[in-house]
Symmetry: C5
C-alpha cells in the first residue's frame, strides 16, 4: 500500500510543513558553517586570489565521508529495528502469558494478581527505561502490591519476582501441575530477557570514538570543500556547503534520535501505545473467555 | 531455473507490456519535474547565459543520494522478506498443529472444533492486518463459534483463546496427558508470536524523518542536476533529469509498496493463496489419515 | 585450502573451457545490444556528427546501476545460502531422528517403517519442489506404504502423518514413554518446518518490479553509454558496450539461477547427493548399531 | 533523545578536549608519513620536475581502500555488538537463575551457596577473559568455596560444576522435582554458552592476512597519493596526505580497539559495571522477596 | 586492547617479514600480468602511437570490480566467522555435556565411556572434515571402542550412536530418570547439528559462476586499465597494473583460504587447539569434581 507519492500533493507539502523539524535543529550549526565559506568566497571574488583547487581531494574525502555516514545510519537503524522487535516480543509474550494463565490457573485472587502483574510489567519497564517508574501508570494492581514494589530498586525485576512467587504458590496449592508451572515460569523468563535487551539498547551508546570521528570529519569537510568548488560555483559555493552539511548532519541527527528509541522524540517507538495495547488484550482475555469452571463440562 | 533472460523475447516485451505500471504511478511527478529543467534549458539555449557548472557538486550529491537509496531499498526488502518468513512460519505451525491434534486428540466434537479453529486463524489474521476480519472467510467453523468470536475486539487472540480452552478441556477429560497438552499449547503460542510479528511489520512504518529526507533530497537533486549537465547535453538535459528522477523514485515507490506486504498491491505477498494452502493441508490431514481408534492395533 | 589460483593454469583455462556457459546464454542479447552502438559509431566516424557528450551522465547512471546490481546479487546469494542451510538442517534432523528412533523404539515392524519413512522424506521433498514426487525414488518403503501415500496430494505432509501415527502407535503399545514420544514428534515437526522453508524459497520470486526495473535499466544504460564513450574510444565503443552489458547481465543471470536452488542447473544445490547421504547414514545406523535388546545388559 | 549536536558547544569542544586521544596514538605514524610527501613537494616546488600525474590512479586506489576500510570497520563493530549482546545475555540469565533459585529451592545453606555462585560467575568470567581470575572480586562466596575453586585451571567451568553439583544435591534431598532440576540446570548451560561465546570473541582475531593487507595498502596509498595531488595542491599536499592517513588509520585503530571489547580501553564495554549490576540484582532478590516458607499460605 | 599500530615498528616490519606470503603465492601471475602492459608501454613510448584513452571506461569497470570484490570478500568472511561460531558451539556443547554427565550419571564404566566419547568426538570430527579420521588422536577411548568405530563409514555419527546407546542403557538400569535421559540426549543432538553445519560449510563451495566471473573480470581489467593510464603514467603504468592486480587478487586469494576454514592454512581456524581445549576441560571436570556418591550428604 504505497503512501502518498505524488510530488505535488505530498513531498512539497512535507518540505514546508513538517514544522521545519530538522532545519530548526541544525539552524545554529548551519549559520556557523557558512562563515568560513563566506570569507573564502569574498576573498576569491574581491581579491581574485587563486585559492581554488581541483575537485580530486574533496571527491576522495567525500567517499570516506560516505562510508562513515552509511555506517552511522545503518547501525542506528539496526538498533531501532531491534528495539522494535524486542517490544513486539513484549506484546507476544504478554499475550501468551495472559492466555496461559487464563486457561491453566484456577480462578481466584492469585489469578487476578497474576493477570494484573503481567499487565503492569510493560508500564513499569517503559518508565524504568526513561526516568524512573511511575506507579500511577499501573494503579490497577492495587495499593498493597504497589507498596511491596516500592521497597525495591529495580521495579521490573520485582514484578517478575512477585509473578514467580505467585506461580510457586499456585503450584504448592495443587492448582497447576509441575509442567504447567514450568511452562508459565518460562513466560516470566522471557519477560526478563526482553527487559535485559531493552536495557542493553538503552545503556550502550555507540563507541564514542565513532561518533567523535564522524562529527569532526563533517566539520573538516565543510571547511575544505569550498576550495574545490569555488572556481566553478563562485558565490553559490556557500549554498553548496550548506546543503552538503545539512544532508550529512541530518543523517547524524536522525541516527542519534532513533538509536535511543524508548524516549518520546518524534521518531521514537510508540512505547506508550504498545503498553496500552497489551493492557487491553489482557483485559479482553480476562473478561470475555469461558469461565475456568466450565472446562470440565465437555 | 533461470527465468526468461533473452532481451528480445522478454525484457523488451516487459518494458512495453507491463501495463506501464511504474510509469503511470510516477507520471504526474515526472511532468512537474521537467518544468524547472525546461526553463533552464530555454534560458541556456536562447539567452546564452552561462548557467552551467562543472559536474563535481552533482557528482558528490549523487553519491549521498545513492547511500540514501540503498538504505531505503534494503530496509524495505528486508521487511518484505521477513514478512514472507513469518507467513512461511504460519504455514509450518498450522501444519504441525493439525498433524499433532490429529495424532494426539481423541476423535470427537472438540477435535473437530480445534481443527476448524486452526484453519480459521490464518483467514482471521489476514483481514485483521487489512481492514477488519471477514467472518464469512471461515464460515466452516460454524455459527455458534462465529458468534462467540464476534463479541471480541481482537479476533485472532480470541481464536487462540478458544483453542487453548478446548485443549484444557481435553486435558481435563483425560484425552491427552499433561505433556501432550503443553506440546499442543506451544503451537498456539507460536501462532500468537506469528500474529505479533505481522502486526509489528504492519504497524511500524519507517522513521518518518528518513522517508522525508529522501524525498526532499531527490526533489532538490532534480533541481540542481541540470546545472551540471546543461553545458554538455543541451536540450537532452530534460531527458537526463527525467531518467534520474524516474529511477530514483522507482526505487522509493517499490520500497513503499513492498514494505507493507500484507495488502493486495501487485508486489504484495500472496497472503490469500497461503491461507487456502493451509486450509487444504488441514483438510487433507483430517480426511485421509488413519482413524484415531486404529492406533492401538499394532 | 585455496583452490587453483594461478592465472596460467586455471583462470585462462576456465575462460575458454567453461563451455562458454554464460556467453552462450547471453549471446543473442549481446548481438542485439551491439546494433545501436554500431549505428552510433558509424554515424560518428563517417558523418562526423558531434554526438558524444562528456562522461558525467553515464558515470552517474553507472553508480545507480551498481546499487541495483549489488542488491540483486546479494539477495540471490542470501537465498541460495539460506536454502543450503535448510538442506543442511534436513541432513541433521534426519540423522538425529534416525539415531533416536534407533535407541528408543523397540525393534519390530513399526521401527522399520519409521526408519524407511525418515529415509523417504528427503526424496519426496526433493521432487515435490520440482515437478511432482517420483515414488520409485523411495521404493524401499514397500508397496503398501506407497499406496497409502498415493492417495494424498501433498506427499511430504503425508509421510509426516504416517510417521506421527506410527509414533502414537508405539506410545499406545507402551514401547516408549510419553516424553520419548514428544521428543520424537519434535523431529517430525522439524521436518515439516524444513519443508515449509523450502517451499517458501521456491514459491517466492523476487518482487517483479525489482527484476523488471533492473533489466530495463541495463538495457537503457547500454543505449546511453556509447554517447559518453564515443569521443575517446571510437569504434572500440562497441567492445566497451558489449563488455559492460556482459558483466551486468552475467550478474543478473547468475542471480536468477542461484535464487531457485532446488533445480538441476549447473549452479544449483546438490540436492540429489544430499538425499543419498541421508539414506546412507540411516542405513548405517540401522545395520551397524548395537541390537536394541542388548541395552539392558549393562 | 539526541545527544549534543550543536557544532559550537559540542563538536568543537570535543575536537580539542577529547584528550587528543586518537591524535596521540597516531602521532608517530603521522610524523613518518609526512616525510615522503615533504620530499616530493620540495622536489616539485624547487626543482620544478614534472612528477605529478592525473588523479585517476589515486582515485581508483581510493575506491579499493574504501572497500577494505568498510569491511574492517563493520566486522569490528559487529564483533563489539555481538559481545555486548552476549554480556546482555549474561545479565538476563543471571537474573532468571537467581529468581528461579529463589522461588524453587528451599531455604538453607545450599540455596545460599547457589546464589553466591551465580553472583560470582560474572566476576570470574570477566577476569578469566583478561589476565586471570581475581578471587578477591567475589570473596562473598566464602573461603571454603574459594579453596575448592583454586584447585581448578578453568575457574568459570569450576563454578558451573559447583552449581550443578549443588542442584543435584537439592534434587536428591527432594527439595526440587526432576523438572525443576532440569529447568535450573538449563540456566547453568546458558552460562556455559555465554562463557564460550566470550572466549570465542576474545580468542579469534581477524584473519591476519586481512589486517596485514589493509595496513600495507594504507601505507602504499600514502606514498602514491601525493603524485596525484601535487600539481593542484603544491605544499598543501602534505596536509592532504596527513588527513587521508589520519582518517584511514583512525578507522583501523578504533576497529582494533572495539573488536576486543572485554578489556579496559576507553571504547571497551563496561564489563565491571555489568558485573556489579548483576550482583546487586541478585542481592535484591535474595533480601527483599517473600520468604520461601510463606509460599504455602495461599 | 589495540595491537601494534605504529607504522615504524609493526607495519613496515610485517611488510618485509611476513614471509612474502601473498607475494609468493601471486608471483607467477604477477609476472604474466606485466607482459601485456609492458608491450603496450613499449609501443606507446617508442612508436608514439596514440593508444591511450581517457579514464572513464576503466573507472566504470573499476566500480563493477569493486562490487564483485566486496561480495567475494564478505561472503568468504561470513563463512569463516560462521565456522568459528560452530566450533565455539562445539566447545560449549561438549562442556555442557561433560558437566551434565558428571552430575547426573552414576559412577561406573558407562560414565567413563561416555566422557571419553564426548572427548573423542571433536578429534573425529576434525579429521573427518579433512582427509579421514585418525583413530590414534583419541586412543584414550580404548581399543574395544576403537574397533567398534572402525566398522562404520561415518565415524562421528558412529560416536553419537555409541553415546545414545549408552545413555539408553543407563536409563534402562535406572541410573537416570526419563527426563534426565532426554536432557542428555539433547546434547548428542546438538553435536550432530554442529557436525552437519561443519559439513555444510566444507562441502558447499561458492557458486562456480561467481568465482569464474570474478577471475575473468580481474584478468580483463588488467588488460584494459593500461590504455586508460598510459597517457599520464608512461612506464609507471606497469607498476600501476601490478599493484591493482595484486590488491584485487590478494582479496580473492585470502577469500579462498578463509572460506574453507577447517584446513591447516595460515589463516584457517585453530581447530586442533580447540579439540585439545575441550579434552582438557572434560578431564578437569572428570578428575576435580565432587564424587557422585557424596551428593546425598547434604
Amino acid at each position: 500500500m504505497p503512501k502518498k507519492n505524488s510530488l505535488t500533493d505530498s513531498t512539497l507539502f512535507m518540505m514546508f510543513s513538517y514544522k521545519g523539524y530538522l532545519i530548526r535543529k541544525l539552524s545554529s550549526d548551519l549559520l556557523w558553517i557558512t562563515i568560513p565559506s563566506t570569507i573564502l568566497c569574498a576573498i576569491h571574488e574581491y581579491k581574485h586570489l587563486d585559492i581554488g583547487m581541483n575537485f580530486s581531494l574533496p571527491g576522495l574525502m567525500g567517499a570516506i565521508l560516505g562510508i562513515l555516514l552509511v555506517f552511522r545510519n545503518n547501525t542506528a537503524y539496526d538498533r531501532w529495528w531491534e528495539a522494535r522487535k524486542v517490544l513486539g516480543g513484549l506484546v507476544n509474550t504478554s499475550r501468551n502469558f495472559a492466555l496461559q494463565v487464563n486457561s491453566m490457573v484456577p480462578d481466584g485472587k492469585i489469578k487476578d494478581e497474576l493477570q494484573n502483574l503481567i499487565g503492569a510489567f510493560p508500564y513499569a519497564l517503559k518508565e524504568h527505561l526513561r526516568e524512573g517508574v511511575v506507579f500511577s501508570d499501573f494503579s490497577f494492581i492495587g495499593d498493597a502490591m504497589t507498596e511491596k514494589l516500592k521497597s525495591w530498586d529495580h521495579i521490573p525485576v520485582a514484578i517478575n519476582n512477585l509473578i514467580q512467587e505467585r506461580l510457586k504458590m499456585v503450584l504448592n496449592s495443587g492448582g497447576i501441575t509441575d509442567f504447567q508451572f514450568l511452562k508459565l515460569i518460562e513466560n516470566s523468563d522471557e519477560l526478563i530477557d526482553i527487559m535485559g535487551k531493552c536495557e542493553r539498547i538503552k545503556n550502550t551508546p555507540m563507541p564514542e570514538s565513532h561518533t567523535y570521528l564522524l562529527k569532526v570529519y563533517i566539520w573538516v569537510y565543510a571547511i575544505i570543500i569550498p576550495f574545490g568548488l569555488i572556481d566553478t560555483l563562485g558565490w553559490w559555493t556557500i549554498l553548496a556547503v550548506v546543503m552538503v552539511y545539512y544532508v550529512a548532519m541530518s543523517i547524524v541527527t536522525i541516527s542519534e534520535e532513533i538509536e535511543e528509541p524508548f524516549g518520546i522524540d518524534p521518531n521514537d517507538l510508540p512505547v506508550d501505545k504498545i503498553c496500552n495495547t497489551i493492557y487491553n488484550n489482557i483485559q479482553e482475555v480476562k473478561t470475555k473467555s469461558t469461565p475456568y469452571s466450565n472446562y470440565n463440562n465437555v
